[in-house]
């Protein structure tokens, strides 16, 4: 049973610096590659100076929203301005389909994440950090907890309390306000914004929320200096490197660190070895399953936010999932819609109801019982979800589905002409089982208190 490939594919090693196949899980191993040097350096600096360095680097959020990390930190009030504790929460609830980089960070360089937390804590003068890790990540939790214990025993925490809080299986808890609700011991339903977490986050106190990769990139930013970091990749907006998550129908899938700005084709063909078995690329799940799918004519697009944005794509969490010609795009859209239907928290009607409608419509197309007008009806439902909910989960269902209907309308039409799926069981995605059995939400089992 193969191990995940994790390596620096190109450019400077930042997040994975010092990792050469042997996990840097022990403090000694991490120390040997300069670990915790940046913490010491940061602590000798004025907190505001550290924030200024992050701003100058233009490091942006690696969780999907691409918000400038330094600016986010600068929104947090300083302790003299507010009589409440200041919190950091690290979003380790990695659940976006196709994303598996934060997991590898926690397994391979856990101390760099902890060092990043401690530098961030110094910068915003916080002494309370919560790392919210998805419940399924049992091994990752164990490795990270062991690293944390070792760092604590070595006296590195300097009065900062870091608590690893385990989730219990809910994609929506990766949404920052749902994460805060969940951390507070509630159902993970997103909050209305404003107020933003920087002002009123966990326990109604100022809270900085960052993705694992963003936080882990902080020590390397300080190590090479913000000016140099800002030159790497595709400046001015997409600076630094990225852990790209390559998967699907590709010869060498894995987590590859490379600078922003390499092309999708380069990642797939040169780094990933191309589509195997003589098959041809049909579509790319770009950024994650929450975004529009990429068609082969756009493969020369650079993997940076601007280049992708100009063509209507998103860099998301760095996902590039290759889909070859054997798979039916209607099945793909249906499986994606099923995922969001399952994961909708049910708070906002357009998302709760709309995702179900999308599943019904796509099921009808797949079964050949839809009609031509259903294609536009599907797009209409997407339009009635996008931008109309408290969080972007509904948008995340609507954007990929709408892109499939628009870009692959001929294939949708072929289902009607054929009276069902023309791919049949030959599609890689045929009959894929959506785990609707997990829905305990609507049934009350026997013996449960009323």
């Amino acid at each position: 049973m193969a191990e995940t490939t994790v390596r620096v594919a190109e450019g400077p090693a930042l997040v994975l610096a010092g990792y050469d196949g042997e996990p840097l899980t022990s403090l000694a191993a991490y120390r040997a590659v300069g670990g915790y040097d940046q913490l010491e350096k940061a602590r000798a600096q004025d907190p505001q100076a550290v924030i200024q360095e992050l701003i100058a680097s233009n490091l942006r959020g690696r969780g999907g929203a691409f918000f400038p990390t330094g600016r986010k930190a600068s929104f947090i009030p300083t302790p003299d301005k507010i009589a409440k504790p200041i919190y950091i929460t690290v979003n380790a609830d990695e659940s976006e389909p196709g994303t598996f980089k934060d997991r590898e960070i926690m397994l391979k360089v856990p101390h760099r994440l902890i060092e990043g937390c401690l530098v961030a804590a110094h910068a915003i003068q916080s002494s309370d950090v919560y790392i919210y890790i998805r419940g399924e990540y049992a091994e990752e939790y164990r490795v990270l907890q062991a690293a944390l214990d070792e760092a604590r025993d070595a006296g590195l925490l300097g009065g900062v309390a870091i608590v690893i809080h385990r989730g219990a299986g809910a994609y929506i808890c990766g949404e920052e306000t749902a994460l805060l609700e969940s951390l507070e011991g509630k159902r993970g339903q997103p909050r209305s914004k404003p107020p933003f977490p920087a002002i009123s986050g966990v326990y109604a106190a100022p809270t900085l929320i960052n993705n694992v990769e963003s936080i882990t990139t902080i020590p390397p930013v300080l190590a090479i200096g913000p000016a140099e970091f800002a030159q790497i990749g595709a400046p001015p907006d997409s600076t630094g490197t990225r852990l790209f998550c390559l998967s699907g129908n590709v010869a060498r899938p894995g987590v590859y660190e490379a600078p922003h700005g390499i092309t999708v084709r380069h990642l797939i063909d040169d780094i990933g070895g191309g589509v195997p078995g003589g098959h041809t690329l049909k579509a790319v799940m770009m950024g994650g399953s929450s975004f529009p799918v990429m068609t082969p004519d756009d493969l020369d697009t650079a993997l940076d936010a601007d280049s992708l944005g100009k063509k209507g794509y998103f860099i998301g969490s760095g996902v590039v999932t290759v889909i070859d010609e054997r798979s039916c795009i209607v099945q793909f859209a249906l499986r994606v819609a099923q995922f969001y239907m399952h994961e909708s928290c049910g708070k906002c009607t357009p998302c709760r109801v709309g995702t179900r409608w999308l599943v019904q419509l796509l099921r009808a197309v797949e079964d050949g019982t839809a009609q031509e007008s259903d294609f536009d009806l599907t797009l209409d439902v997407c339009d009635r979800i996008i931008g109309k909910c408290l969080c972007v989960l509904g948008d995340s269902a609507a954007m990929p589905v709408a892109s499939c209907v628009t870009k692959f309308r001929d294939e949708f039409r072929a289902h009607l002409e054929h009276g069902g799926c023309p791919f049949g069981a030959d599609s890689q995605l045929a009959g894929l089982f959506a785990p609707v059995d997990q829905h305990a939400h609507t049934t009350v089992p026997e013996g449960v208190p009323a």
């Binding site: 994609y171 507070e184 011991g185 998967s247 995922f339 890689q428 089982f433 059995d437 208190p449």
Partner: protein, 155 residues
């Protein structure tokens, strides 16, 4: 031996006073002890945290990993999201169904093994990912299935 109540009080110290943050860890601990969250387990959690059982149930029912019905001694969870699907997750799930004689969401008659299909487990480059008692097995193919089941049955 520490009691459940004492362990929950220890968990509470990690979070600010007057908050409910210890609820998820307490539910997880209760599930670890009982296998699933029965009415009695929910009441123990509620007592330890000074919450109502109804509140504990309302939170527990939100999360997929918290089980409100009895489950097998072991669980086999097969990722059936897109990335594993592109590399034959359905065939792996089918193989488990044949081997165990139960469908996804069901438990074998002897109460030993629960089979589940789950959403993306975050192991997309080594499909198909199967979590056996919450430990990931990577690159699982239908051919690996009988051995995985046998291993569980042998304890």
């Amino acid at each position: 031996m520490t009691t459940f109540y004492e362990e929950v009080q220890e968990i509470r110290t990690r979070y600010p006073e007057g908050t409910r943050s210890a609820l998820l860890p307490a539910l997880q601990l209760a599930q670890e002890r009982h296998g699933w969250l029965s009415r009695q387990a929910l009441e123990e959690v509620a007592d330890a945290l000074e919450l109502t059982p109804a509140y504990c149930y309302s939170v527990a029912s939100f999360y997929d990993m918290l089980r409100l019905e009895p489950v097998g001694t072991h669980t086999i969870e097969v990722c059936t999201n897109v990335c594993c699907g592109l590399v034959n997750a359905q065939a792996v799930l089918d193989a488990f169904e044949r081997e165990l004689g139960v469908g996804p969401g069901e438990t074998t008659e002897d109460g030993e093994i629960t089979l589940r299909a789950v959403e993306c487990l975050g192991g997309c480059s080594t499909p198909t990912i199967v979590a056996v008692d919450h430990r990931y097995r990577q690159s699982v193919t239908p051919e690996n299935v009988p051995a995985i089941v046998q291993e569980l049955r042998n304890g």
